[in-house]
Structures are given as C-alpha cells and as structure tokens.
Symmetry: C2
Subunit: 101 residues, 2 copies
C-alpha cells in the first residue's frame, strides 16, 4: 500500500505551515463548509480551536467521528490517519502544534 | 539561591492551565496593561498570539526585551526565566504550548 501523505502534502489548501523547527511543526488549519481533505497523516499534536465549528474525521477503514468544537477548546490527538470534512455551516479554524521526537 | 518558580506557581492570575499530559502543558496567558509577574521559569515552548499587544520580558540579571506582538503570530521561545510586563495599552492574550522532555 502506498504511504499515506502528510497533512501539508495531502491538503495544502487546508493546512498552512506557520513555523517549524526540530521539535515542532505549527499549522494553521482552515476548512470551509462542505470541504473534505484526502486521507493524510499527523503525528501526536495539540489542537487549539479558533472558531466554533463541526468536523468529521474518517479513518482509512471507514470509521468516523464527528466533533462539535468550540472556540478556545484544546485537544490532544495522537498520531493517526484520516480525512477531515467540515460538516457544519461555519468556517473551521484551528491551530495545530505537531510534536516531533 | 532559591529555585525560580514555574509560571503557574509564580503568576496564577496570568497563567491558566488548559491541558496537561506527559508531553505538553498548554497555558492560557492573559496580562492586563500595567500588570507585571514575578520572576518565573518556562521550558521550551510555542507561543501563539491571540491579541495585538506589547510585552516586556526582563531576566534575573536585568536584561530586557520588549516585543510588539500581532494576533496570529507564532514564536518559538527556548527555556528561560523572566518577569513579564504588559507595557502596552491593550490586554495581552497568548496561548503557550510548553514541551516536556
């Protein structure tokens, strides 16, 4: 099976690189209502929610999880692969601080 | 010399704990105009700026650095000790993602 691409490679329209060094990579994440990314991978990361929105994450085996997110919320998300879809009516905006090791 | 306290211990009115695990600690940082913290320490961290503001950082030896920060800016700041003072006219608001290792 082909390797699953990184978020920045898979969806450069959604993920923008804000900063990178040998410890972290910081991404600005913006998903419009109805927009859906290709399958991509992330390392362990902190996500800080910058707008109220709804996102659906679907893994390669079809399992999905829908989250209703509120501005100011903080999530810890372990490394994994998924598609990301904005299933709400508002622009989704998050900050992702990905950890390297 | 006494150990320099951690940010949360030194200035609980400025730093609020949003999330913590074995990899990171995430802090909400709010400093009012004219407010100044006691000397405190931080580990290496990512700072994401949540409001336009001006902060002055002063180290134990009196050296200082004043920053004009803009909403959406990202900083990487290495571990160190300082006081933090809001020398501007606007509330200062930042997100700090501190790395453990």
């Amino acid at each position: 099976m082909a390797q699953i691409p990184d978020a920045l490679q898979a969806a450069p329209d959604v993920y923008k690189l804000l900063m990178e060094n040998d410890r972290v990579r910081v991404l600005d994440v913006r998903v419009k209502p109805g927009q859906k990314t290709k399958l991509h991978s992330h390392p362990d990361r902190v996500v800080y929610v910058l707008s109220d929105h709804r996102l659906k994450f679907t893994s390669a085996d079809g399992q999905n999880k829908e989250l209703e997110l509120k501005t100011g919320q903080v999530l810890w998300i372990e490394a994994g692969e998924h598609t990301t879809e904005n299933t709400g009516k508002t622009d989704a905006r998050n900050l992702a601080v990905e950890l390297k090791e």
